[in-house]
Amino acid sequence: MADTARDPPPAHTDFQELEDGEDLFLEPAVIQESGPASLPAEDISANSNGPKQDSLFDDDPEDLFAEATEEVSLDSPEREVLLSDGPSPAITPITPPTSVITPRIGLAHDDMFTHSSFDEIEEEEGGDSFDMHISVSDPEKVGDGMNAYMAYKVTTKTSMSLFKTDEFSVKRRFSDFLGLHSKLASKYLHIGYIVPPAPEKSIVGMTKVKVGKEDQSSNEFVEKRRSALERYLMRTVKHPILLKDPDVLQFLESSELPRAVSTQALSSAGLLRMVNKAADAVNKMTIKMNESDAWFEEKQQHFENLDVQLRKLHASVESLVCHRKELSVNTAQFAKSAAMLGNSEDHTALSRALSQLAEVEEKIDQLHQDQANADFYLFSELLGDYVRLITAVKGVFDHRMKTWQKWQDSQLLLQKKREAEAKLQFTNKPDKLQQAKDEIKELEGKVQQGERDFEQISKTIRKEVSRFEKERVKDFKTIIIKYLESLVQTQQQLIKYWDAFLPEAKAIS
């Protein structure tokens, strides 16, 4: 990276919210395949561009928390260590009793060390197997006019010791979910954790609901959203790290939640988000990373391909859902016309048979609707979820690149300072010399930190990707089985209907 001299990017707080479907990160990352880092500063080893090629699980002897074995619970002192001070700009300043404050990004070393303790938490939890079910239900309209909103009941059923009770529920609104995601994203995305994206906003859909239009399309919208919120929460809590996040626990348990106003698209925070997103897109296009770790290159390509394929599948299923709905409409129309025909017919037995035919067709129509719902809620939404998830995955890969960039920039700056110091040796300015030496020491620390950060995020991403791939297979298999069950059931129903109709048809004569 000897081309341009750049200052390291400022440590600003990014709110990488990916709740919208729009993705400015459209092009695949430009990664140059070259040999070792082209900045051979003295104390940087030649192959330091990637993580150590060892096992995914933490064997680092220098891990300070290797002895930590006690289970993390809600009130555990260890939990408090993970949080740092300072208010999070994402929340309106009413801090609840439990410390739910997000750490500022890019601060002291502490962050990285504490986050490496996540590895320990993850491994321990093998004992307490995942047993948790969240349901989002009872959508209820609160308020009137344009200030109205939908409140959803979030019920958690669990036997895990992380929670005080087995079953509890709270009321939440859509912006609460977005707020939760925003907090999780700001805490975890930049260190490589794949944070599940929240469901998308829909101004059109919500306006209909607000205005009080009680028709099928607004009911469908509410149901679609309810289902999406449920899937979102389940995905989030299935993540062993996110499950234990205090924001998540507060979301699930606490009866009062401060309103996350900065999730509104047109707020100042919203505008800040848009600006940051644009800046990131530009940055991303200009980062050329020397990827010496084939694993990352391969994975990035893999996710690019997967993205394309899933989008194709999604489009395909949407088409199928559309036709199914059309079939339902047509079947209902045919049923009506068959009924009219039956009424006009004066041959008694034929008339009765035709009326029966109309009834059978009505029932079949209902089957078509159920099947369309299965197509939609099982496949279409699953594929949509995964398309959005892959956006989050690509996001963490980008963060890794940025981390690398930061490290490289520190190295570059360090070298410059060293050169400057060397020059100063020959001048008689002891003050300046001392200043230079101090700066160099500070920068050396930064460079080391940068390297550690990079290695940590690389390690985390490897683990996350592995988990993601396993979850993906599980998810798809579960959905496919559910879908097949629905198909079998539909056919069984059809058989019943036809069996019942046959004697009626035979009785005509």
């Binding site: 599948l313 004066d346 298999k477 097949l484 058989i495």
Partner: protein, 369 residues
């Protein structure tokens, strides 16, 4: 060609009930149909090939039997609209079910047309039928003169006669009933066609999804990749099954209830035409009666003669019509029953087959997990 009415011997030398349209061939833009019929005497078959024009020729000859008393009271077996290779959307819409499934239903409809003529006590005597079924050469594409049977030539003003009040309650009831039934049947047929067309679209969509899933198969030894690929391949098979399922369901719909409703619809129209002809005759008769009454002594005798002829014709028509109607009622109920039973049996069979297949897929999937 005019045919004298022979009371006793039918002129048809083949069996009526097993006339078959066995094949349809595309020759450029034209469709040619192979018709096979069994000789009455001994064993032996007639194989002839005919185009749509030949069928029309036959129909025109039947229409033009002016010397057969009461011929206008006959419910003529309806000829389907002309089928074309690469037909326009309008033509396809008009053909409805008959345009689907590679012209198989169309062949059946033509077959039915010929069979009904051969089985009809009056129509089977027409020499044109014999020539149509047995002559090795196509009966000629000469255009037969137009006649009053061609509805299209009737002036719009004649349509008023359709609602002319009847003198006979039986016929008035029949006309009213026919009017309602024709409308209902047409609507039901069109809506059922919409159902079938959508089913076909779904089959295509399932096929696309199945193909798209194959693209998701990933190479590599990674166990997760392999598991996902396997799942995609299996799911692709499932959607292929769904495609076949939908295709079968649509086929069953077309071949049983679809063609049944189509035939019923066209026959209702044919009855409508007959009733209209009779009504027109009624109007003619009433006019003749009025004329005879009002006629000056000079013209009176002539007018009376006209009136007598009109009365005789009308009586003949009513006689034939009553028979035709009675027979029609019986035949159509039987036909619809058959269509409904076949439809139900086929769909039941398909549903059972599909249930089995989906169940197999389900078990296989559960075994995989």
């Amino acid at each position: 060609m005019m045919e004298e009415v022979k009371e006793v011997t039918p002129t048809l030398s083949v069996h009526a009930h097993n006339i078959k349209v066995t094949e349809v061939l595309k020759e450029g833009d034209t469709l040619t149909f192979l018709i096979v019929s069994q000789k009455l005497s001994g064993t032996g078959e007639y194989h002839v090939d005919r185009t749509y024009d030949d069928f029309e020729w036959l129909q025109q000859h039947l229409f033009s039997q002016e010397d057969v008393p009461g011929i206008q009271g006959v419910i003529f077996p309806p000829l389907p609209a002309k089928a074309q290779v690469n037909a326009s959307a309008k033509v396809m819409k008009q053909l409805g079910f008959l345009g689907l499934e590679e012209w198989q239903p169309y062949c059946k409809a033509l077959e039915n047309f010929v069979q009904q003529i051969a089985a009809h006590s009056i129509l089977c005597k027409n020499k044109a039928l014999e020539i149509f079924l047995t002559s090795p050469d196509p009966p000629g594409r000469q255009r037969v003169r137009k006649n009053i049977f061609n509805r299209l030539s009737q002036a719009v003003v004649e349509m008023r006669k359709e609602s002319h009040k009847d003198v006979d309650e039986f016929f008035q009831t029949e006309r009213d009933h026919n009017l309602v039934l024709t409308g209902c049947t047409k609507t039901a047929t069109e809506r059922f066609l919409d159902v079938v067309l959508t089913e076909q679209k779904i089959a295509v969509a399932c096929g696309h999804f199945s193909a798209a899933l194959h693209l998701c198969v990933e190479q590599g030894e990674d166990p997760d990749k392999q598991a996902f690929s396997k799942a995609c391949v299996k799911l692709s098979e499932v959607f292929n099954s769904m495609k076949k399922n939908m295709t079968s369901v649509a086929e069953n719909n077309v071949n049983t209830l679809g063609v049944g409703l189509d035939l019923e619809s066209r026959y209702q129209e044919a009855e409508k035409e007959m009733l209209f002809r009779r009504t027109c005759k009624l109007v003619e008769l009433e006019t003749a009666r009025r004329n005879a009454e009002k006629a000056k002594p000079v013209k009176k005798a002539a007018m009376e003669e006209v009136k007598k002829v009109a009365e005789t014709e009308f009586d003949h028509i009513c006689g034939v019509a009553k028979q035709e109607i009675a027979q029609f009622h019986g035949v159509r109920v039987k036909m619809l029953q058959q269509a409904l039973v076949q439809w139900c049996e086929k769909q039941l069979l398909t549903a059972k087959e599909n249930a089995d297949q989906f169940d197999q897929h389900l078990q296989a999937f559960r075994g995989m997990a």
